[in-house]
Amino acid sequence: MSEDSTPSEQDSGAGRLVHPGERLGGHEGAEAGHGVRRIDGQMVAMRMGNLQENGQMVSIDPLSSRYVPRAGDLVIGLVEGMTNNIWFLDIGASFNAILPMSLAPWKVEFGAVREHLNVGEAVLCRVQEVDETQSAVATMKGMGLRKLKSGLVEQIPPHIIPQVIGKGGSMLQALKDLGDARLVVGQNGRVWIDGEQDGMRDIRSALKLIRDTAHLPGLRERIDALGE
């Protein structure tokens, strides 16, 4: 996925908007990447998005997507329920992730999970493992992983996360400066914002702008204009 909104223009086809079923053509010997499949020797776009060519790899940057968990992802989960020893976290994927009490950062008594995390509360956690049927296990053991007690959680589509972070984290820094707030972007598209009311409001409107116009060039200029 490209780091900013301007697609690389090294190849004529790159950045072109493609639709499902479109024959991409002219990619002999290339490898089919994300959103592309080789059918009867031809490269076929499998989803709506911008065509990307990276060396020998042809792929598509999707314009809409749902979060698919991967092991190691930093995500923000919302507690949806619990049993005596497990919490169920909504991480924005098709399925809830489980957080066993053994992977919580506290000493939890069997049956006392609700004392530490209750329904509706948000946690910063990491995906520990995902199996082939998309069942995920989350962990809160690790640096910086914690319960989120203040601030608010905003949702963005997962495919625009690279634009929210920007090249080398430049966009993220710009957003932090804009609202003078703390910001954590989860790989599942949830963004935790913590700061003063006005700052958080500014960041929310900036995120809305990114959400609406992430696929159009000149995103950075629009965000910078917000701060002026």
Partner: protein
């Protein structure tokens, strides 16, 4: 007007609504009309109007309907009670169950279900105004909504229909032609390969008539496909 009295064409070969035999009704498509859905599309096909919305992939409930190796499509075709001159009793009926089933089968042949095991993709099709050919309308709108939702598909299903009225093969029958006509042939076509993924035939056609209907449908499918692609591109501001 009884069966057999209806004249679908005048002496110049022009149909009641001003079309020629091989001409289809005007089609307009717009994407993203339901902001809370993962993908959606509105289609206006002649006087037909429909909205399709796609939600998911999400966990399939109850668990017994889950497939361990792939997602399931949950397609629901419904006509609004006010969509026709005779009020339709709300809820599932024999006809909507049948159309939901054929739509599901048509879409299953293109959607990459293996990517989302144990999940469900919900496709809701609501007919707002009906004037013959709503199943084609629904399948086409559902394809656009699925593409808008970012669901991986090997092609977009385009559904069109041809038929026969007063012994003449006609493209895209309207309400009186469908009611008083002799045959109707809706088809689901993959425009990239001209493969057939859905076919129903109501009434009788000779082999020659069937072939002519097929040719009409394939040509129309390509025209509708161009409109579908245009709708998707407009949604995302054209070429970036």
């Amino acid at each position: 007007m009884g069966y057999g009295d209806y004249q679908c064409m005048d002496a110049n070969g022009i149909r009641e609504d001003g079309r020629k035999a091989d001409e289809m009704r005007a089609v307009e498509i717009e994407c993203g009309v339901i902001p809370v859905a993962d993908g959606s599309a509105y289609i206006k096909w002649g006087k037909n109007e429909a909205i399709a919305a796609v939600y998911g992939p999400m966990e399939a409930h109850p668990r017994k309907i889950q497939r361990q190796d792939r997602a399931i499509l949950d397609v629901r075709y419904n006509m609004a009670p006010f969509s026709t001159t005779d009020r339709i009793r709300p809820g599932f009926n024999r006809r909507s169950r049948e159309i939901s089933k054929v739509t599901k089968d048509a879409l299953e042949s293109v959607v990459d279900l293996e990517l989302y095991p144990r999940s469900k993709i919900r496709v809701e099709i609501e007919i707002i105004c009906a004037e013959a050919g709503t199943r084609c309308c629904g399948i086409t709108a559902a394809s656009v909504a699925l593409a808008d939702a970012g669901i991986p598909m090997s092609d977009m299903v385009v559904s069109v229909a041809a038929g026969k009225c007063n012994g003449v093969v006609l493209m895209d029958l309207n309400k009186p032609e469908d009611n008083y006509g002799e045959a109707d042939l809706p088809m689901g076509i993959l425009p990239m390969t001209d493969e057939l993924v859905f076919l129903q035939m109501d009434g009788d056609l000779s082999m020659e008539e069937f072939k002519l209907c097929w040719d009409y449908n394939v040509k129309a499918a390509h025209d509708v496909h161009a409109i579908m692609v245009d709708a998707l591109q407009r949604r995302y501001g054209g070429d970036v």
